[in-house]
Every structure is written in C-alpha cells, then in structure tokens.
C-alpha cells in the first residue's frame, strides 16, 4: 500500500539512454504500485454479469495507473530532464523515528511522555538544534498541548502513563 521506495539510485547507476531519470524512476515506481494493487485485489470478485463486483473498480484504477506509469517511463526515456534529486537521510530519518515513537508510546505512556519524546527526537533532524532552548520549548509545548487537547477541546486523551493511573 504505502510503497515507499527507499533511497533512489545514484545517477551513475542510470543507463545513458535514460535522459530524464526523474520521470523514468517515477514512472517505474507507479507501475510497481499498480502491480502491487493488482496483486492485493486479486482475491476480490470481478464482474457479475453487468454489475460490478468488489474487485472491478480497484482493478480498473490499477490498470489505469499501470498504463500511466508506463507512459511516464517512456516520456522519461525520450525527453531531456533533471537528474534525480538528492536525498538527505537526516531529516526524514529522525522525523520518522519521532512519529513512530509517538505512535508506540501514546497508549502505554500517555501524552506527556509521548509528546516530549517525539519532540526531542524530531529536533535531532537538523544540525542547527541548540539543546537548551529545544528542551524549554519542548516543555512549554507539551504543557500547552496537555491543556489544549484534553481540557479545552474535550478530546479523550490520556496524559499520564498507564502504570501511574492504576
């Protein structure tokens, strides 16, 4: 589903006849997603007479995406275009870790812990971080969110870790 291709290949890997690597790789990735969707929806029923089955529409869109992906790939071969953009690992890596940390700690540890932890991890995403001010802002933001969401907005969020509530 979330076919997130990892680091794109370095441009030297690209053969010479690919003149627009950005489109070429993009098209291939879309085709891969389409094939994956076709496989994932292969267990669903198709047309029953003239009425649609559960799998008809997904397969229709998947085939459409497959065709479009192929077209984009072809365009990538025959037109001049930019090289693959450079990927940086630091930002995406720490932001992802921060999001995962939040997801895994919000239930057992409560919002105060989850918000603090993910703020500090996300802050590692840039070399510009200065720790003193980051910690101060983290505390303030956590306090603000702890008041805003459960109290001002009345959303059912648990603030403290489960073991402290029991």
């Amino acid at each position: 589903m979330n076919a997130t291709p990892g680091q794109a290949p370095v441009k030297s890997i690209m053969p010479k006849w690919v003149r627009n690597p950005q489109e070429f790789v993009g098209g291939i990735a879309l085709m891969a997603i389409a094939v994956f969707a076709l496989w994932a929806s292969s267990d669903l029923q198709g047309m029953r007479g003239f009425s649609f089955g559960a799998g008809t529409a997904p397969r229709m869109f998947a085939f459409l995406l497959l065709g479009l992906g192929a077209l984009i790939t072809v365009v990538g071969i025959f037109t001049e275009g930019p090289h693959l953009a450079k990927y940086h690992w630091r930002g995406p890596f720490f932001v992802t870790i921060a999001i995962l940390t939040f997801a895994f700690t919000i239930r057992p540890m409560g919002m105060i812990f989850a918000a603090m932890a993910s703020f500090l991890i996300a802050a590692c995403g840039t070399p510009e971080t200065r720790w003193m001010e980051t910690v101060i802002v983290a505390v303030c933001l956590t306090a603000f969110c702890s008041l805003l969401f459960p109290y001002a907005l009345g959303l059912p969020l648990q603030l403290l870790p489960t073991f402290m509530i029991r």
Binding site: V25, F52, G125
Partner: protein, 521 residues
Amino acid sequence: MGDVFANLSLGFGVVFNFVQWTPAFLGGASIPIPVNILLCLIGALVGTLVGVLPGIGTIATVAMLLPITFGLPPVGALIMLAGIYYGAQYGGSTTSILVNIPGEAGSVVTALDGFQMAKRGRAGPALAIAAIGSFFAGCVATVLIALLGAPLTKIALAFGPAEYFSLMVLGLIFAVVLAKGSVLKAIAMIVMGLLLSMVGSDIETGASRMAFNIPELADGLGFATLAMGLFGFAEIIRNLDAGGETDRKLVQEKVSGLMPTRKDLKDAAPAVGRGTVLGSILGILPGGGAVIASFAAYTLEKKIAKDPSKFGHGEIRGVAAPESANNAAAQTSFIPLLTLGIPPNAVMALMVGAMTIHGIVPGPQVMQKQPDLVWGMIASMWVGNLMLLIINLPLVGIWVRLLRVPYRLMFPSIVVFCCIGIYSVNNAPTDVMIAGAFGLFGYWLIKHDFEPAPLLLGMVLGPLMEENLRRALLISRGDWSVFLTRPLSAVLMAIAAALLVLTVLPALRKKRDEVFVESEN
C-alpha cells in the same frame, strides 16, 4: 430575488445566533454569547497563526487544525473551518509579502510584487491592500453564491448517476488542465488517489478490499491522516532538506504606515475589480480555484497595464489583483461543493472530509434538509472576511514576530501537533504510523515532481465515482454508452474530452506554460 434575501437572512441569523450563558458565579444572570461569531473569529485567528508559519500551506493548515473542530456541533465546526481557511489564506499572503516564502502555490504571484513592496518599506500598504482586496472580493463572492446556490441545486436534483459520474470526470480533467506542471503526471496522481480510496470495505458487498486484515484499514484510509502525512510531514521533511534557515530573508524594517495612500487605492481599485470577476468565474469551474485565478489575474493586469515593466518591482496592482482573485475563487469554489457535493480542489476535499466526520453528506440534499447549515456557512464566509480585515490588520506586528521563530524550534512542534491531531481522530496509534508512511511517500513524490494535491482530490472523489459508475451501469444494464446517450452527460463528457485534447495540443500547451512561467521571471 426574494429567495436570495430570505436565504441570506437565514444564514446571518445562524451566524449571529446568541446563546445564553448562565455561569454559576453570576448568580443566575445570563450573558448572551455569539457562539458562531466567536468560533469564526477563533478560526480566523488560529488559521492565520498557523498559515503564517513559513512552509505551511493552506491545505496543511486546514488538515492540521481539523481535529480541533471535532468536539463542536456540525454548524459551529464548519463555520470555524471556514474561518480557518480564510485565516490560512491570509497568513499565506502575509508570508509571501514579508518573507518571500509563499506558503502555497496561490500566493506565489503575490510574492512577486508584494515582497518588492516590502523591501521598499511599503509592507504595510501591501498587506492592507491584500486584505481590502480580499474583503471586497469576498463580499461579491458571497452574493454570487447566494444567487447561484438555489438554481444550481435545482439542476443538481435532475442529475442521475451517469451525469454525476461525467461531472466528476470533467472536474478531474479541469483540475489537471488548470494545474501547474505535467498533465500526464497530474492524471497519474489522480488515479493514484482513486486507487488509494479503494482501500477498505466495498460499499455494496462489504468485502474487505486491499486491507490486509489490518483493522484500522477496514474502514478505509482516513482522509485527515492522508492529508496530514502528505502535506504536514512531507513538507517538514522537505524543508529540512532545504536547510531551514538559509532562504529566509526576513524583511527587517519595521512594518510602519499600514494604510495605503489615496493614490495606492486609486491604482488598486480597478485591479481589485478585475481580479474579483476573474476569480469568481474561475472558482466556480470544477477543478478551478485559487491557484489559476491568481496567476490569471496577474497575467491580465500585466497585459493591460500601460507600463508592464513596473510589474515585479513593487507594483501595487500586482498585489491587489491576484489577492482579490485568489479570495473570490476560494469562496466561489464552495458553490460546486455545496450544490453538487463535488469538491473542486484539495481544500474543499478536506471540507468534505470534515462534513463526513460530522455525518453530513454534501450535496443538493443538504441544501434542502439543512438550510441553516449551508446558509450559515455562506454568511460566515462574509463574516470571516470582515474579521480578517478588522482584526488581522492591527495584528500584523504579531504575525511578523512569529515569522522570526526559527525553523529548528518550529518543525518539532509541528510534528508533535500533527501526531496528536491524527491520534485524536480515532484514538488509533496505527493512524499515526500510516500518516508517517505517507509523509515519506509525499517526500518521494516531491522529489520526483509529482503534485500531491490531485492525489487528495482523487482520494475524495474515488468512492463517489465508483458508486455512481456502478449505479449508472446497473440502471443501463451494463451498457457503457449511457454516458454518451444521456444528453446532459454527453455534453459534460464532450467538454472533458475537448479540454484534454486542447491541453495536449502544442499551441495551447505553450500558452498554459506561459501563464505560469511568465510570472516567475
């Protein structure tokens, strides 16, 4: 005509609805509170607050703030969202004028002349004319919605499934034609969105589709989740790449002399008028909307100006026209949403998401069954515009200070805020992870020059399209020609086909690129 006034007065009645608040400490005395106006005000303020943060566009702002409206009754929630939307748009103009960082595509054009004005110490008049122009455009558009709303609803009621399907095809084609960049890639993104919308249960058989037995996917991918991933997280990751601090040339001079001079007003007035007309028309078209409106308005002003070379060097008309067009289009794009139930752009798609969460299915039925909701929202648009004018202008100083918040502190806060927001939709940690995955996917899309906005539109229209396609074919007993034999549907399909052919034609393609490129030089 009488209808229009009756409807508008109903709307303003809803907006100016006072609730008697009887707090215990007053000993039985009650204070009337204009709840909806307050909500609109808070929405506009918070929307500006978030929208003014550089790198956060209108879509991201609305997506991020969606959860704070969940606890409200439907009317209040939608009024607040409308306020957030206008606030976010105004915030976007503020950043493009003051820092030359347009938060979204629509305000790219504003940055051209607005930033030049700011560099010359005329940031105040630039911001003021943007707000005044927007307010004027908003007034005109509100009346237009009231005029067109009822008749369009009548047309909508004559629509069968075949017509609805054709209309959505037309809307998606419009979205592609009017978008920036490659047509092929935009279509691919729409189809990608359609495909993503298929995840979950089948509406007719209830069969689980592409959900891999993950309980959180059984109901389909959450709309807010996807939007926050694609627009919130992905933008953050991308901005980190750019090295947050480097490209932020903040205008250091104090914003002084807020009011435009008499000459400014005289120069800008006709531009505001032209921008409003152009924006209102482009906004009604399905798939149209704010972006193309501001580009087109700027191009028009430049074409008819006596001295076009002034543009790009701080010409006030270059701010007034696109800002008015932008706002007019933003407002009239509610027309297809409220009358036909079809979101014409990504922000409206978010509105549909919000309505669905409150159990409202937008469309002609809503107009008849819940007139207070529809007309209340329309009236609140006007009130929202007024709020921006009378409250945000004096607050410009605060917004400027906000711009000085360094990105290294801002982005972790946004990450945490988004996480809490997504989690609070369903109290599901899995949703947070899905949003994270879409954040990475969105980052990859940006790197390959794919626009995420059409994807969002496809995602919302997917279930509607499938349902109407299925129904149309069931009624016609499997005959696909039904889309061409029913006259209304045939006309819509013909327009769609013609548009698509026109875009592929080299001559028009050049023109279309010109509109976007010209304003960048």
